[in-house]
């Protein structure tokens, strides 16, 4: 009843009676963290952005840290489910990897504020919230490594490649390119070129066939 109008409005999947304000605070958190970074974000600014009183934040979240943690969890959860659903439609691991690259860039393009938060704050947090360590982010990375393993099983991907290193290499490249897109204002075409180029680089390499490496 309370949530009938939410539909596709925002990331995440809040449940329970407080869903509305919870989600508004989460969305506000994404915006403000993106604008100012976690440390320079003021709780009062998040409250204002969410249209609630400062104190209301603390009904739904233990503290400022928890807002960020929940932003990670809910956003990554939503991204993962979106990505997995689309990958199912691709026939083979190599096509899936291409699709993954495209989706990563497109999803973040659609959610620029979220992109900024994930790129910058996820690193900070990986370093400082070791007790938490976003399990969902590892889950996301493992989508890549699983695709590589499957490709190797099917004989499409060279067996010398380490899936564990590849997943980080690809993620790092994707992350750097979307960060760059977010920071500069290169327009949508940059996303397209980035996707195309990354597919080419990671799948076929850059050295001309026949050249010794």
């Amino acid at each position: 009843m309370k949530n009938e109008a939410r539909g596709a409005r925002s990331l995440g999947d809040p449940e329970g009676p407080h869903a509305d304000k919870y989600q508004r605070i989460l969305d506000a958190g994404i915006k403000v963290f993106a604008r100012k970074g976690f440390h320079n974000a003021r709780v009062s600014e998040i409250a204002a952005e969410a249209g609630v009183a400062d104190g209301t934040i603390y009904i739904y979240f233990k503290n400022k840290d928890e807002i960020l943690i929940k932003v990670f969890e809910e956003s990554l959860g939503w991204i993962i489910s979106r990505v997995k659903k689309e990958l199912d439609q691709e026939p083979d691991p190599v096509r899936k990897i291409k699709r993954f690259i495209w989706m990563h860039l497109e999803l973040l393009e659609e959610n620029q504020a979220l992109a900024e938060v994930l790129q910058v704050e996820l690193r900070q947090s990986n370093k400082f919230m070791k007790e938490y360590l976003p399990a969902r982010w590892l889950e996301y990375l493992d989508i890549i490594s699983e695709l590589v393993k499957e490709g190797q099983r099917q004989g499409m991907i060279t067996p010398e490649i380490s899936p564990g290193i590849f997943k980080r290499a690809l993620f790092g490249a994707l992350d750097e390119l979307s960060l760059n897109w977010v920071l500069t204002n290169k327009g949508k075409s940059y996303i397209k070129s980035s996707a195309e180029q990354l597919c080419a680089i990671f799948l076929k390499g850059i050295v001309k066939p026949g050249i010794e490496v």
Copy 2:
């Protein structure tokens, strides 16, 4: 071999009469920023680490931000000169790219604290100090793109590759892998595997020859 040119001091190349304290503060900054992150680093802790009084910091640096900026500038300057010198010894662009990958990882391995600062804080700062935007970091990235262009001129690298996107893809991958190495404690062998794998991936791709992509 690696440190032959650095004298007994440390990274960077401080000049002038204040060289000693200036450099001590800079080194202390790297350590403390690595340990705590920029926002949680206390100026007084940097001062203590450097063995100077709090107020002395402000004789050499305008403010806390400037310590970080100078850490970037001096460290990147030193890295760039080291890298360029070694790349000169490689015969062709493809070999140079391989050398670059190895050096990046090895240099950061040798300077773990610096690695942590560059990886995490450079992102933050890229985002917030747009007025500054570390020119040296772009210079470092451009080493890669110049190598790609040269490779394309010499016909060793496929012309479809965009050097501007490639430089960020490679940097992102390197960065992610060294961050992972820094955060987990995987030992030196992880650096080696990372370098080998990245060379393979970026130069030859992961799809088996003959497979359609």
Copy 3:
């Protein structure tokens, strides 16, 4: 014997249609104030302890202060009526004073939480709620001074004694000893010794007969 008149409810004598919740809040107030002290007691904790909603408190009490005031009033009212009733059974003023000492200690022993609130918070409140100044507490003190006056009239108590100072001296001594009993866990025998000793001290003094003072 001691509780015969109190029915199943508790201290005080709540009347009117709200009697139940009113009393439950009052009792909860005593418990929570005893546990945490007035300032550290949370209205929401009192509500929880009373099994009512936070807002309900404000139907029965103007604010948090008023809960404490009513705790004083109702508790002291109950204590006074209990004490007066028992004193009637004693034949002379000196015996009545002895009885008073015993009853004070025994009543608080039976209501330890109330004891803690009265002892600690009454002082605070005496100091800050000058506008209120618990009339009932003065009434309680005056029981003592009236007994002294009566004793002087009957020639049993030396006329040099000021009833006004004596009442405070005795109350202070009683209060300090019950506070000490509440804070340490000395068991029931400490109450007995305290009563005996106080009777001896206040009635006969501590100096041996014959010694010059």
Copy 4:
């Protein structure tokens, strides 16, 4: 050098280079705690009263609690040493007890603000800072019990009296009377009467010689 001018200015015995501000904050703490009570005292008000910035408080004290604790420690330390010195001049234990009663009341009369803090906050703190429990306060109480024991040894005080209960009874009475003096504005004569009456009560009792108790 820095402290040459302090003389009798304020309680306590601050040492070290920061003595001046430390003592000013302590004195300000006494005043403000007396005026408002610990919980309603604002750190900023103490700072203003001491003529320092808010932050300066935290150079000298860990937090607001510690100001109160140090007020207890230093004040009681000062009181104890003053009292002990004077008691030495009295010839026998009974005379010493009389002197103690007079001094207690006179010292607090001279330091009214301190009196209010000790009386009201010491109780609160006894209850809530069990970890701390002002050792000095116990030391002060023990002055009394030691005098009683000595009096019993010399045969001047009846052996039935428990020094441990007597010390609390006397302290409670003194405390209540000085609280009353502080709260009402009874003038100096009330102090005198209180002292006289307490001496009479505690030493000789209130019951006329010859009356059976």
